[in-house]
């Protein structure tokens, strides 16, 4: 049968694409040379893991490490959907469990590696004049939270619920604050950006999110320990990883004193101190 040239060209392109897809799997495994380690990590870990990535690269001059940062719920869904990955670092146990249920993480292999706390943030010029947590219930305050599907969004709701137990907050405090919410963002960094841009009067993020430029652009309003929710971050190697040694090595790096030091620098609470 005769095919037009353009079809032959297209077919060869398809074949070429297919070959490049297959190549990593047939490449000789071992020694870690030219192997790409793929780490799925919660959006809040961005800066800390970027630095850990630099350390990893220093130890593996031939190896590559790639991070995929997003809301943990999104990463868990991607893993369940079969996305290729070697390590998963989640912002809560629930999303780690989603990946376990999805068959990508072996049960009981996840290890806690960091804690994080919530903090209320305001734009530097504080347009709504908020000075205490009670002010969050003032009418007209534009509050931005993460969606309840995102770990930090659920923690934020937990914090508001906890206020009911304290005498200085009225019974309707939590409801009044929720009435001020103008948007439930898709991940914690989107909350930070909306506050940094001054579009929102207040937002709730992790203390570790306030890094880099955000330090100058937002004001922190601390949430006392009784109300605060301490988030625990678990990490695990993906069970079907094609380079388990490298994956284990990265997990060890995160848990090592050096790794914990980096996490602390970026506002996380090291696992040993809790």
């Amino acid at each position: 049968m005769k095919f037009p040239k353009v079809i032959l060209l297209w077919l060869s392109l398809v074949l070429l694409t297919a070959c490049t897809q297959v190549q990593p799997a047939v490449a000789p495994a071992g020694r870690g040379a030219n192997q790409e380690l793929v780490v799925f990590a919660a959006a809040s870990l961005t800066e800390a893991f970027d630095e850990l990535g630099t350390q990893y690269r220093a130890a593996h001059p031939d190896g590559k490490i790639t991070f995929n940062y997003a809301g943990s719920q999104q990463l868990a869904q991607q893993l369940t959907g079969g996305a290729p990955a070697d390590v998963f670092a989640s912002a809560n146990q629930k999303q780690m469990q989603v990946a376990v249920d999805g068959g990508r993480i072996a049960p009981d292999t996840a290890r806690p590696f960091a804690h994080n706390r919530l903090v209320v943030i305001l734009p530097a010029d504080n347009p709504a004049g908020i000075s205490t947590l009670v002010d969050l219930a003032k009418p007209g305050v534009k509050l931005v939270l993460a969606d309840a599907a995102v770990p930090v969004g659920q923690y934020s709701l937990d914090f508001l619920t906890k206020t009911a137990a304290l005498p200085e907050y009225t019974a309707t405090f939590s409801q009044t604050v929720l009435a001020n919410v103008v948007s439930y963002e898709d991940n914690v960094r989107a909350v930070l950006t909306k506050v940094q841009l001054g579009e929102a009067d207040a937002g709730i993020v992790y203390t570790s999110d306030i890094t880099g430029a955000a330090r100058d652009n937002v004001v922190r309003l601390e949430i006392p320990d009784v109300l605060n929710v301490v988030a625990t971050y678990p990490i695990a190697a993906v069970s079907d990883s094609t380079k388990p040694e490298l994956a284990a090595e990265f997990v060890d790096l995160v848990l090592s004193p050096a790794g914990q030091q980096v996490l602390e620098t970026y506002g996380f609470i090291p696992i040993s101190s809790q």
Binding site: G71, Q73, Q74, Q77, P127, K142, V144, D147, A148, A149, V181, V182, S183, Y184, E185, D186, A190, K194, L197, G198, E199, A200
Partner: protein
């Protein structure tokens, strides 16, 4: 209106006879390519249909009604339909002069204007979202002025509509400009000589003849507005009933409850399909009946 109808009648009957002649003389050889043409056309059709089919298969129709009446679904559906329609109406009103300008005038920088109109079609919608935020946000270019007037845009349905206009306008403007350019200028001159005002010429001759292109463009704009996601989530945020449109509800539903996401996606597919079919049918009626 009468004159517009008569012009349209003349035009469509002329088109019809032309069409008929063409069909009589150069009838497409129906079987010449046989199965080979069908086989070559099938793969893309399968690729386009399969995901939609999978949605239908994954749908739990026993819970459809319950999901349909759930507030999340109803709010998202209502919001999407209203904002999408307002955005389309705005694009038609504001886009028609721009399309006419592009079709009729040659001026310095026309290529630039033409390209600017096309640009939102190729840009990632996230770019639109960030750009809109930097214009209409509280600290944006127009933010302080809007604030003085007490106008809030970000986090409101207005932001949803603006995002939809930005990404969907090119579909109408390009279609309308092409439609206007097709209209014979002789007819416009003739009507003007007969004493029609410029507005009358435009309404009863140009717009009347370019009508199918205008409707087609408006429908594409509406469909694109309905599907808008990236710019909306950045610029308008996500709040059920206020800024959470169907695509946002599907996206967040996917992370929370796949059933809801599938239901919403299925409804969006069905609604879009029905609208496109009805419009195509109406356009054909218009020509066949007259």
């Amino acid at each position: 209106m009468d004159s517009s109808l008569s012009v349209r009648n003349k035009r469509s009957s002329a088109a019809r006879t032309e069409d008929g002649e063409r069909r009589a003389t150069r009838r497409p050889p129906a079987r010449r390519h046989g199965w080979r043409l069908t086989a070559a056309a099938t793969p893309l059709l399968v690729l386009l249909t399969l995901p939609l089919l999978a949605l239908g298969l994954r749908m739990d129709f026993s819970t459809l009604w319950r999901n349909l009446s759930s507030p999340v679904v109803m709010q998202a559906l209502t919001l999407s339909l209203t904002t999408g329609s307002i955005a389309t109406f705005s694009v038609v009103v504001l886009g028609t002069p721009l399309a006419y300008l592009l079709a009729r005038r040659s001026f310095r920088g026309r290529v630039v204007v033409d390209t600017l109109v096309d640009l939102p079609m190729v840009l990632p919608p996230a770019v639109a979202g960030v750009g809109l935020l930097l214009v209409f946000g509280r600290r944006g270019l127009l933010g302080p002025a809007l604030d003085v007037m007490g106008i809030q845009i970000v986090f409101t349905p207005i932001a949803v509509i603006l995002a939809q206009i930005f990404v969907s306008a090119p579909f109408f403007v390009t279609a309308a400009a092409a439609g206007f350019a097709e209209v014979d200028q002789e007819l416009e001159h003739a009507a003007a000589l007969d004493g029609a005002t410029p507005w009358g010429v435009f309404r009863n001759v140009t717009a009347a003849l370019a009508w199918p292109a205008l409707v087609g463009g408006a429908v594409m704009t509406w469909a694109r507005a309905l599907g808008e996601f990236g710019a909306t989530i950045i610029f308008a945020g996500n709040f059920p009933g206020r800024t959470q449109t169907m695509p946002l509800a599907i996206y967040l539903g996917f992370e929370r409850d796949l059933e809801i996401a599938v239901t919403l996606a299925f409804i969006l597919v069905v609604v879009s399909f029905l609208v496109l079919v009805v419009v195509k049918w109406l356009l054909r009626q218009r020509f066949v009946v007259q």
